[in-house]
Subunit: 145 residues, 2 copies
């Protein structure tokens, strides 16, 4: 299975808020760019707000970033939108048979490996900031246009 697109959408939203900083980024505006329903955007925005990444107020149109672009890593976004729980990227079968040497040890043996693997994946996300993403998009736009 795949990690929910909430993560990719979260990045999209934050980048667009930045690049549209002189305009008003309402949930409808953002939804049009992502190509989804405004409610989906508002739900994700709620998570980003809870994690202190955006400022948004009931009744007041438009969202703003709550931090500098360079202070938000992709790992921050990933954690904010709850796509993967800590130590739970890999699921391990429950209740293996304790009467069997393999059954009673397999969980403790593979858990640290799975955890290390998940952490390696997350480290890569931690080393990329939204600023990097915005710069890359700006660069692509200049070449194309």
């Amino acid at each position: 299975m795949s990690i929910s697109s909430r993560f990719a959408v979260g990045i999209h939203i934050l980048v667009l808020i930045e690049m549209n900083k002189d305009g008003v980024s309402s949930s409808e505006f953002l939804a049009e760019s992502v190509n989804t329903n405004p409610v989906v955007i508002r739900k994700i925005m709620g998570m980003l707000k809870k994690s202190g990444l955006v400022e948004v107020h009931p009744g007041k149109a438009g969202a703003k970033l709550a931090k500098d672009l360079s202070d938000i890593t992709l790992l921050d976004v990933y954690k904010a939108v709850n796509v993967v729980q800590d130590r739970a990227l890999f699921s391990i079968h429950q209740n293996p048979n304790p009467k069997c040497p393999v059954g009673r040890n397999i969980q403790d043996t593979i858990e640290p490996i799975f955890e290390a693997s998940q952490i390696a994946m997350e480290k890569v996300l931690e080393n990329v900031t939204l600023e990097d993403v915005v710069k890359d998009i700006s660069k692509k736009e200049n070449i194309i246009c």
Copy 2:
């Protein structure tokens, strides 16, 4: 979401076949240790067989490893049981708005980052062999018993 427990069960199965190499590892025997249904085991076994990790024959009870323990990495098992497709650990929303600079570039920008992240995760699995897992379990058993 989490990666299917097929992966953990696949490891469990292969380790148990090895540690029970003097006995007969039928799907029912394996299912008892994993604590699941024999059909689940046979389905996973089919994938492991297709990838050349085990030898198993219709009508003939018992499975054997098709390679040396030290020649099977956790990545081999992971690939065999099809829990994550190539470049698809993270899903990216389809059809973002091409009229928006962010919409028309977001996919190309974040895809390489997601791919690098997935590869980092898989590299960790590649560096662990079934031999390592068996040794760890054996060590734990000696301490406990």
